[in-house]
């Protein structure tokens, strides 16, 4: 008989097009404030796709990440690490617990960082006159689809299980489900769960004909 434990949610946070944190998000919902805006011209795809609108985070957030952490982060990891920081503080977990191996991470993303991927592909497809590459050593770490989970573990020293879901719109809910199972069946005592995506017109474009 597998061990079955009750699972509780002890903290939550979100950075969204309609606000950062519960209060701002609820305020926007109650006031009918939309985060959807006209599509931004990306100089590549904007004129070729049907979608004319998008939603993204376009307000400033005071991140306080050191360079040693920032160097492996694209925009998507900034969102992920900021909310991870919020929930670790709100849940009141000690540093000892966070790094004990009893806390794991289930955190995902649909595409990783398309902003960074765009730069990588620009390098691939431009007519380079020189041999030396402008693709940096950290560009993969910044762009990869599991970048959110990896950067969270790296930043906070989390040594438990790491699961990176990537199932489009269900990425975050699947991560929460993985976390639930990890705790319920005693594999981990706590899980930090969620998902993040950043805006890029390439992401809009791949869904354009759906």
């Amino acid at each position: 008989m597998p061990m079955k434990r009750r699972v509780v949610i002890t903290a939550c946070s979100a950075i969204t097009p309609i606000g950062y944190g519960k209060k701002n998000i609820v305020d926007s919902l109650q006031q009918g404030r939309s985060g959807v805006k006209p599509l931004r011209d990306d100089g590549l795809l904007t004129d070729r796709i049907h979608s004319r609108v998008f939603g993204t985070v376009d307000y400033p957030i005071a991140y306080e990440f050191t360079r040693s952490h920032r160097k492996t982060m694209g925009p998507v990891a900034y969102y992920a690490c900021q909310v991870a920081k919020d929930v670790l503080a709100a849940a009141g977990l000690s540093q000892e617990f966070v790094t004990s191996g009893r806390l794991g991470v289930a955190f995902g993303s649909t595409h990783g960082s398309p902003t960074i991927q765009r730069e990588i592909y620009k390098t691939f497809f431009q007519n380079m006159e020189t041999e030396f590459s402008s693709i940096g050593a950290v560009d993969y770490l910044r762009s990869m689809v599991h970048t959110t989970a990896v950067n969270i573990t790296r930043m906070f020293g989390i040594t438990g299980r790491v699961i990176a879901s990537s199932t489009a719109c269900t990425t975050s809910s699947q991560a929460i489900g993985f976390g639930y199972e990890m705790v319920k069946y005693g594999m981990q005592d706590a899980m930090l769960c969620g998902g993040a995506d950043e805006y890029d017109t390439t992401t809009v474009a791949v869904f354009d004909n759906l």
Binding site: R67, S68, K71, T72, T130, E131, F132, S133, S134, G136, A137, V138, L141
Partner: protein, 84 residues
């Protein structure tokens, strides 16, 4: 390029791109500034841009012995001499 010119370029990169605070020429890069192996690869890419040519595998492997900024400058001077 003279050693002084190389030093100026390297210090600019270390301060601006790697956010070194008050770099000393004989500081241990890892212990004092948290410079790791990924940073080293990034720096080699920037060195290629300074020189305007790609480093060979052998040249890159020699960079593994670097521990200080003075080591970087010695390394760059040797590469310049080897290519002259």
């Amino acid at each position: 390029m003279t050693r002084d010119a190389l030093q100026e370029k390297i210090l600019t990169i270390l301060v601006q791109d790697f956010e070194f605070q008050q770099p000393g020429l004989d500081d241990n890069l890892r212990d004092v500034h948290g410079f790791d192996s990924i940073d080293a690869i990034e720096l080699l890419g920037k060195i290629e841009l300074i020189f305007g040519f790609s480093l060979t595998r052998e040249e890159k492997e020699k960079a593994m012995e670097i521990r200080t900024i003075n080591d970087i400058l010695d390394y760059l001077e040797k590469i310049q001499q080897g290519r002259a």
